[in-house]
């Protein structure tokens, strides 16, 4: 973009351009930077909201921690091996991400439409994928805090002892799990917008079964075929299975379904697939919006 070197002629204009054609000519670098800034810009309200409305500390940390504690006491009463307490605490921490994806992330575009933001997003020059990524990263940061609290407090309170041989692989699997999980969140967000309440009801219907087959509180391999199905479709199940094996290395109770390396590869495939599906669905949404004058599949 060619810009005049002279000072702006008016405070109404910050970046004077010679013509509309000049102003519309963006380099690939500028397009990339704009999309990166969009991601951080859209993540901003999530992070600010977390600090400005601390009531979430109660609803999203204290209450779910009670569920984790209940499982701990059950396992203790049953005199389960000590690793199981660690499984529960690890699962409790990862629940934060799953809840965030399933409820906040999935419903986000739907809310944006109701608030009138979606039209402004469509008329801005960035990719809608950046908006979705910004939502995901904002939610992820928020959930990281909650997960860390559950993990630290749970570890200290219940005396969990981790045994990690491959720290880097554990970190990689954790990051891949989050990427795949939030990729799924992006898909859910577009589906919620396309199908509205029907998608919402479907999520409600699936919440408990997904909890169950994800193996949040026990090794998913114990579920046999059902566990295999979960491993192939639910990022949380794969990620937890791999993390459990890596966080309690050498334990005879971890019962990994596949090796952590293979599960890391599955997570990569899941992440790429989910993000690609989300991108495709966003294109469908925009096409529907522009061609039909509506954003949902209903009424078609």
């Amino acid at each position: 973009m060619s810009e005049r070197s002279a000072a702006p002629p008016s405070p109404f204009v910050s970046r004077p351009t010679a013509s509309p054609a000049d102003a519309a000519r963006w380099s690939p670098r500028r397009i990339l930077i704009t999309n990166l800034r969009t991601i951080s810009g859209r993540a901003y309200p999530r992070v600010i909201g977390m600090m400005r409305e601390p009531s979430w500390l109660f609803f999203e940390i204290l209450l779910p921690f009670l569920t984790t504690s209940a499982f701990v006491f059950v396992y203790r009463a049953l005199q389960a091996p000590p690793e199981y307490i660690g499984f529960v605490v690890l699962g409790g921490a990862m629940t934060a991400f799953w809840l965030n994806v399933m409820w906040l992330m999935a419903a986000q575009l739907y809310w944006e439409k109701d608030q009138g933001n979606l039209e402004l997003y469509f008329t801005a020059p960035m990719s809608m994928m950046s908006i979705l990524l910004g939502m995901a990263i904002g939610g992820l940061l928020m959930s990281c805090f909650r997960a860390a609290v559950v993990l630290i407090v749970g570890t200290v309170l219940y005396g969990v002892v981790f045994s990690v041989d491959q720290w880097l692989l554990l970190l990689l699997v954790f990051l891949l799990t989050l990427t795949a999980l939030y990729g799924l969140g992006m898909v859910l967000a577009t589906l919620f917008l396309l199908w509205g309440r029907e998608a919402w009801h479907l999520t409600q219907l699936l919440q408990e079964p997904v909890y169950f087959v994800s193996g949040l509180n026990f090794p998913v391999a114990r579920l046999g075929v059902l566990g295999a199905a979960a491993i192939s479709t639910i990022p949380l199940a794969v990620g937890l299975d791999a993390m459990r094996q890596l966080a309690f290395a050498g334990s005879v109770h971890t019962d990994g379904f596949l090796s952590p390396e293979v599960e890391a590869l599955i997570l990569v495939v899941m992440a790429v697939t989910f993000v690609a599906i989300a991108r495709f669905l966003l294109q469908v949404i925009e096409r529907l919006a522009r061609r039909e004058g509506r954003l949902t599949m209903r009424g078609s």
Binding site: V13, T17, P125, G293
Partner: protein, 361 residues
């Protein structure tokens, strides 16, 4: 785009039909429109006329069913990325953003969507907050703003990317008199500060369009009925010169003026204190003349009649007169013709027949 500056808006035979039951709704029915760069152009019409549909097509939110539309040479169907970099839109009653953010934070967030650097974004936001008069609300949460303050915020948001074309869709809708005046002043100030930028304003407030626009189109039922400057459009319905004379007396009545050369009609309307008739302190006479030149003869004759002029005013038709002349009904009568799913009621009918239209807010 060619090297010469193209038209800001170039719309050719655009039709927009919404699928609906029992019958499709024709929101735009063959619109042709040219707006020059730097022009402030208004779309005037009642609710459901098709104004918002046209603005949504031009802002890449809707596709035309047929026809073509270009903004500064960019095809609204295919060159959306380029177009979105040079335009912005502010709508009346807009509730965008996030209530928990402060005014400053909300604008900064939107600045990021246009690629402003972090510091540049904050600087720009502060400048615009001062410009629109929200300095005192800088740190206030968006959810606590009044409707007028909210619209100032929207206006500032619309200027974040220095748009070359600014779409204003009923920008003063729902505002009180003072807030509406402030928004109009902002529009005027922006135009003065950045000559060469284009405005497309939709409104059903005639005074607003007349005040802010160089030219306007009167739109009804998806069609443009007339295009021109406010003065040109008024001249279309003004086939004779009309003057309102206030005289201290006119003993022989208006009939004394009727026979004068160039006078088409002379009618006593009301006295200055509001009562009809001639036996009052002053007399109001409505004169219709073949042309302005005939006024001289009338004024000369008044001396012979013993009458003196207290005031003289040339009566001009309003834009509403133009609308009535063109459409055969007034703006206020729109309700009787826009109910139901007929082609004259795209906005209302869409809500009733199409699931969650894009322009539902």
């Amino acid at each position: 785009m060619s090297s010469s500056t193209p038209l800001a808006i170039d719309v050719r035979d655009v039709r927009r039909v919404y699928k609906a039951k029992p019958a499709p709704i024709i929101a735009l029915d063959g619109i042709d429109l040219e707006v020059a760069s730097g022009e402030s152009f208004g779309l005037l019409g009642p609710n459901g006329a098709g104004k918002t549909t046209l603005i949504k097509i031009l802002t890449t939110l809707l596709l035309p069913t047929s026809g073509s539309a270009h903004v500064f040479g960019f095809d609204v169907e295919r060159q959306t990325s380029q177009l979105r970099r040079i335009m912005n839109i502010v709508s009346g009653g807009e509730q965008s953003g996030y209530g928990l953010l402060q005014v400053r934070e909300q604008l900064w967030m939107f600045s990021q969507f246009y690629g402003l650097a972090v510091r540049e974004g904050w600087r720009r936001v502060d400048e615009l907050i001062d410009l629109v008069g929200l300095s005192e609300q800088r740190q206030q949460k968006v959810s606590s703003l009044s409707t007028g303050q909210r619209q100032k915020l929207n206006f500032a948001r619309g200027l974040l990317n220095d748009p070359w074309i600014f779409f204003l869709d009923e920008p003063t809708l729902g505002l009180d008199v003072s807030a509406a005046r402030t928004v109009r002043e902002l529009v005027r100030d922006w135009r003065l500060a950045v000559p060469g930028r284009t405005i497309l304003l939709t409104s059903h407030y005639m005074a607003e369009v007349e005040e802010l626009c160089d030219r306007l189109a009167i739109v009804d039922r998806g069609r443009i009925l007339a295009i021109g400057s406010p003065a040109e459009l008024k001249r279309r319905v003004q086939r004779e010169s009309v003057f309102e004379l206030e005289l201290d007396r006119l003993d022989r009545g208006a009939a004394a003026l009727s026979g004068l050369p160039g006078v088409i009609s002379a009618v006593t309307t009301a006295s200055a204190d509001g009562d009809a008739g001639i036996d009052r302190q002053t007399v109001m006479v409505k004169l219709s003349l073949a042309d302005d030149a005939a006024l001289g003869g009338v004024v000369s004759s008044l001396a012979g009649l013993g009458a003196h002029i207290v005031s003289l005013r040339k009566a001009e038709p309003s834009l509403e007169d133009v609308f009535v002349e063109l459409v055969g009904r007034g703006f206020q009568e729109e309700g009787s013709t826009t109910n139901g799913a007929g082609p004259d009621a795209p906005a209302d009918a869409r809500r009733a027949t199409v699931s969650e239209p894009l322009d539902d807010r």
